[in-house]
């Protein structure tokens, strides 16, 4: 049993993978249907009121998936990552790991990477479901744009796990870690009010799938992707360093 394997086992035995995958898949399958039939749905619930909706588009279906998955999915992802990374919340278990691992990265990296991969794959599965459903119900999506958008969305979630890693080194409890990380991830887009900063913000990657389906070039998000990668690496490095220095 290695720490890597333990983290995968954690996802499966605690059934956290169901929460992750089910959330993204649910939105992936549901949102294109709601987009396709929204006019009919409003007509049924609206009674005599006549509702005129724009015709459903593939882009609107993807946007609907992203807006829902990026909120609920991110919340689930952050809580799951905090549960794995805030191991100091239980000093006896932390003591077991700390007094045996030769370096702190031996403990932290498997936790971060497994969480990031699991969260990213769940998001990608949701994107795949949304793509399929949209193509069948509304119309085809550009394959290149969807692929690039999925990669950017994946990268944003990796960044979110990096933020959780940093937060686990700043506070000990699972709730504190999740709360602090969510706070940072929610506040981050506000920095986009400064026009010069906006293209560099990792939070720009959240909307990348929709923009790319709408025809924007993938290169437009390279700066945000670069800063997300850099901040993830820095947050993880800093988190490992702080955790290594922390006293139980």
């Amino acid at each position: 049993m290695t720490v890597w394997r333990m983290e995968w086992v954690r996802l499966f035995r605690t059934r956290r993978w169901i929460a992750l995958l089910a959330g993204y898949l649910l939105f992936g399958f549901l949102m294109p249907i709601l987009t396709r039939y929204q006019e009919e749905i409003f007509r049924h619930v609206g009674g005599d009121v006549k509702v005129i909706m724009p015709p459903p588009t593939p882009s609107a279906a993807v946007a609907s998936y992203i807006s829902n998955a990026s909120q609920v999915g991110l919340l689930v992802a952050v809580v799951i990552a905090a549960g794995a990374l805030a191991f100091d919340a239980r000093p006896e278990w932390s003591s077991f790991l700390r007094t045996r691992a030769r370096t702190m990265s031996t403990i932290v990296l498997p936790k971060s990477v497994v969480c990031a991969v699991a969260v990213g794959l769940s998001f990608a599965a949701g994107m795949l479901a949304a793509s399929y459903e949209t193509s069948v119900l509304i119309g085809p999506l550009p394959a290149g744009g969807m692929l690039a958008g999925t990669l950017y969305g994946f990268l944003y979630l990796v960044f979110a796990v990096g933020v959780v890693t940093l937060c686990a080194s700043l506070t000990r409890s699972v709730i504190g870690t999740a709360g602090l990380a969510l706070g940072i991830l929610i506040v981050l887009p506000i920095l986009g009010q400064a026009a010069a900063l906006k293209p560099w913000l990792p939070s720009e990657l959240v909307g990348a799938p929709v923009a790319l389906v709408d025809g924007k070039p993938a290169a437009e998000f390279l700066r945000a992707a670069a800063s997300a990668a850099a901040v993830t690496a820095a947050a993880t490095w800093f988190g490992v360093r702080r955790l290594a220095r922390r006293e139980l």
Partner: protein, 295 residues
């Protein structure tokens, strides 16, 4: 003798409180060292510093074995409840000593008395079983230095006996440093003892020396009443330091030396007309030392 652990003037300050105040400890390599002290004496803090999970405010620590040859067990081990006992011990092996073959996992579980529940998830384990599992996860790496914090605190008498036997066996392979407030356990397995109180190491030394230095030799005499004349006669002897009745038919006779007592006590009792049922030297125990030092 070469030291497995040596500290010099170790201090640990938490706010206004000195949890450790100038502790200079010396644990000989190959010994079983018992750290005793009342609750809040600083035992866990001291072991935490030696284990590397806490930092000293001042002073120095010298560990005579490589980091990967040290194994540590906290007083209340906890593990992920969804892991099996086998997986916990195997995880410990992979983390600290991946070169140790996997078959050692089963052996460690067997030594800790958990062979039958190796495949069970630890979420359903009792405190005693968790403590045994903590011990298995500690010994699997074949450590040269074992640091055990209250290893028997959650065990029933049979479990305590098993674990103390295991500690004795481990002491033959390496050095064991363990804390306990169960003085009988310490006396049973340790060859050296340190007494800690309020962050200070009151005394340290081999168990035999401590008992010889701090326990006054005494005899327990059982005889038929009346005992008052016997007490009076014994107190008149120059080699008797004290003679006191314990209940109606027992006397405790403190003597200058065991040898003098062995030579003269029987004659003095006969001379006083005592109807003696039995007499024997009082067992020297660590509890007496501990109470004398910490009172």
């Amino acid at each position: 003798m070469q030291a497995a652990v040596e500290t010099e003037g170790l201090r640990k300050i938490y706010g206004p409180v000195a949890a450790l105040d100038g502790v200079s400890l010396h644990v000989d390599a190959g010994s079983v060292y018992g750290l005793v002290g009342p609750n809040g004496a600083g035992k866990t803090t001291l072991l935490g510093i030696l284990a590397g999970v806490r930092r000293a405010t001042a002073g120095s620590v010298r560990i005579g074995v490589p980091r990967e040859r040290i194994a540590v067990m906290p007083d209340t081990p906890q593990f992920e409840p969804w892991l099996s006992a086998y997986e916990v011990v195997d995880l410990a092996r992979r983390l600290i000593a991946p070169e140790v073959p996997e078959r050692e996992v089963e052996q460690a579980l067997g030594e800790a008395g958990l062979a039958d529940v190796a495949g069970r998830r630890v979420g359903g384990f009792s405190r005693g079983m968790l403590q045994r599992l903590g011990l298995a996860a500690t010994i699997v790496s074949r450590p040269s230095l074992l640091i055990l914090d209250e290893p028997c605190s959650a065990l029933d008498p049979a479990g305590r006996r098993d674990v103390l036997d295991l500690v004795t066996r481990l002491g033959r392979r390496g050095t064991v440093l363990f804390s306990s407030h169960i003085l009988g356990d310490v006396q049973r397995v340790c060859d050296s003892v340190g007494v800690l109180r309020e962050g200070r190491l009151l005394l340290e030394g081999s168990l035999d020396d401590l008992l010889a230095d701090y326990v006054r030799p005494a005899f327990l005499v059982r005889a038929r009443p009346p005992l008052d004349p016997v007490v009076g006669a014994l107190r008149a002897q120059p080699w008797v330091l004290a003679a006191d009745m314990i209940g109606g038919s027992e006397l405790r006779v403190e003597v200058r030396s065991l040898e003098e007592g062995e030579r003269s006590l029987a004659g003095a009792l006969a001379g006083a007309g005592a109807r003696v049922i039995s007499f024997e030297p009082e067992a020297a125990d660590l509890e007496s030392v501990f109470l004398e030092m910490t009172s």
